[in-house]
């Protein structure tokens, strides 16, 4: 985006100084390259790997910007070329992915690296932030991190790959500890030392723990204050690409074999064992279908998506659906189900409305909060409001204000006080929630939205609303 003639770079793309991302006024994603980075691009774009991986969507489609000369002039500085990328529907981060999503994103990096090594190229790093999603298909987006191999040098991204991909997966597969809080707490990931301390003596016998975790932690500790130039020493001793390849092949086998054994969670069986009667469930589906189909939708959010039944309904009328649920196992099942059924425009994410992804990293802008990554045209909030207000103590009018602030239409379900789910939430809690009242809810909703459609479900405890903002949508992303 240009403001006052100066290009604003994407705030998360500063780490690699040889390639920086910016957005064009056309909404497209561009990447400026220095002269050495341009040589890497020339090498990459001539390979079979580039054709294969962009052909099947595993690598982001990329070309030299058609209007490169004018873009270079506008950029100023020492840039040598400008690339233009295919746009990703919605940006997400590893701390929002379920186990299999992080696993698939990790495998994509290793597959790309193996193919790259065969053609004299390598990945400069090993971070899952280089992977985004087209629905449930992982896409490697950081063209700038594919570079020509420097003979005699190890894979610089190995340690980063361990910290941000391998250790989170090992902890979840071996210890059943979800890594999202770790990854959200530290963008650099989990250190070898911390991971090593979390593993028991018995875990040393499990694949990958002795070498990638324990020995790496030891090696890091023993070389932390050394003055030797290890890179030069390795070069002289004949370190070769064959070693990288052997290591990466083994890493691929290790990651490919990791599974998360969690069978049940509080919410994973909800779709089958909820308190709805079958006819009520059908009424709800028909209502969502009607609201979603009212007009073509760009971006739809489904908050509290569970395993994604309503997200799929909305997907038929939307460019892209982001389906968010706080329960990782539900999201894991949604991801596997969408993948198996080939649904191409639903992105499942782990997230909590009352504790959402914050701005993280440098200036809090390197990784963005959800609304800053694209505003929804339509938000589904089905069987959600009682969890936000009664479960997380968020004032009801603040929740409605927040929804209105997103700028889109809303399909929202009010769950009355007589509902068994509401009774369960209040069973051990003092009822200080005067604002959790059907009439008050309707008045707050009417203050910010026009109710286009309303339907009471047959149980009598739940009501659905299709609400349209009073001042019209404030523009999608």
């Amino acid at each position: 985006m240009t403001a006052a003639g100066r290009t604003e770079y994407e705030p998360g793309s500063f780490r690699d100084r040889s390639a920086r991302v910016f957005f064009g006024e056309d909404g497209r994603v561009y990447r400026a390259l220095t002269a050495p980075a341009l040589e890497d691009w020339d090498a990459l774009s001539a390979t079979r790997l580039f054709r294969t991986f962009t052909g099947d969507g595993r690598l982001v489609s990329t070309e030299r910007a058609p209007d490169e000369a004018s873009r270079l002039a506008a950029l100023g500085g020492a840039w040598a070329a400008v690339l233009r990328h295919q746009t990703i529907p919605f940006v997400s981060y590893p701390y929002e992915w379920s186990f299999s999503m992080l696993k698939d994103a990790s495998l994509l990096q290793l597959d790309l690296l193996l193919a790259a090594l065969d053609e004299g190229l390598i990945l400069k790093d090993g971070t899952p932030y280089n992977v985004q999603w087209n629905g449930t298909r992982p896409v490697f987006i950081d063209i700038g991190s594919i570079a020509r191999v420097r003979p005699g040098e190890p894979w610089a991204g190995y340690r980063q790959f361990c910290r941000q991909c391998l250790y989170p997966l090992l902890l979840q597969a071996y210890k059943n500890v979800s890594a999202q809080a770790w990854l959200r707490g530290s963008l650099e990931g989990i250190s070898a030392e911390a991971c090593s301390r979390l593993m028991s003596a018995r875990d040393l016998l499990r694949p990958g723990v002795l070498t990638h975790v324990y020995l790496q932690a030891q090696a890091e500790a023993r070389t932390a204050t050394a003055t030797r130039n290890v890179k030069d020493e390795l070069k002289r001793a004949g370190f070769s690409q064959a070693l990288i390849k052997a290591n990466v092949q083994r890493l691929r086998k290790l990651v490919g074999g990791l599974e998360w054994g969690q069978q049940r969670s509080v919410w994973s069986e909800y779709a089958d064992r909820n308190t709805y009667q079958p006819e009520e469930s059908e009424q709800k589906a028909a209502f969502v279908q009607r609201a979603a189909a009212a007009r073509p939708r760009g971006l739809v959010w489904d908050l509290g998506s569970n395993t994604g039944r309503f997200a799929r309904l909305a997907a038929a009328h939307a460019r892209h659906v982001v389906a968010v649920d706080a329960d990782e196992l539900s999201v894991e099942r949604m991801y596997r189900g969408l993948k198996a059924d080939g649904v191409s425009n639903v992105l499942p994410l782990v997230g909590n409305v009352a504790d959402p992804s914050p701005g993280l990293g440098w200036r809090g802008r390197e990784r963005l909060p959800l609304p800053d990554r694209g505003r929804p045209d339509l938000v589904l909030c089905l069987a959600l409001i009682h969890h936000v207000v009664l479960g997380a103590n968020v004032p009801l009018d603040e929740f409605i204000e927040w929804l209105a602030g997103l700028g889109g239409e809303v399909v929202i379900e009010f769950v009355g006080r007589a509902d068994p789910m509401v009774e369960a939430l209040l069973r051990h809690k003092e009822d200080l929630f005067d604002d959790y009242d059907h009439a008050y809810f309707e008045s707050r909703l009417a203050a910010r939205f026009e109710v286009a459609d309303r339907q009471e479900l047959s149980s009598g405890t739940r009501t659905l609303y299709h609400a349209v903002p009073r001042r019209g949508p404030s523009g999608g992303a």
């Binding site: 340690r159 070389t223 370190f239 070693l243 990288i244 052997a246 290591n247």
Partner: protein
Amino acid sequence: MTIRAFGFALLVCWCVMAAERPAAAYLDPGSGSMLLQVLLGGVAGVAVIAKLYWGRVLSLLGIRRDQPKE
């Protein structure tokens, strides 16, 4: 690679790292991970480990003073 060769490489690398002595306060957090990649490279890594430390043994014995530069 056979399990025996991998075990040998593991042993050699472990001994080598155990003999490492911290020198000064220069932080190079990637050094350990780089060295580990020699071990993780399998059979080919054994030769690199041997070369890596043979030079040091020669220097230690006074047979070779400096590491050759490229």
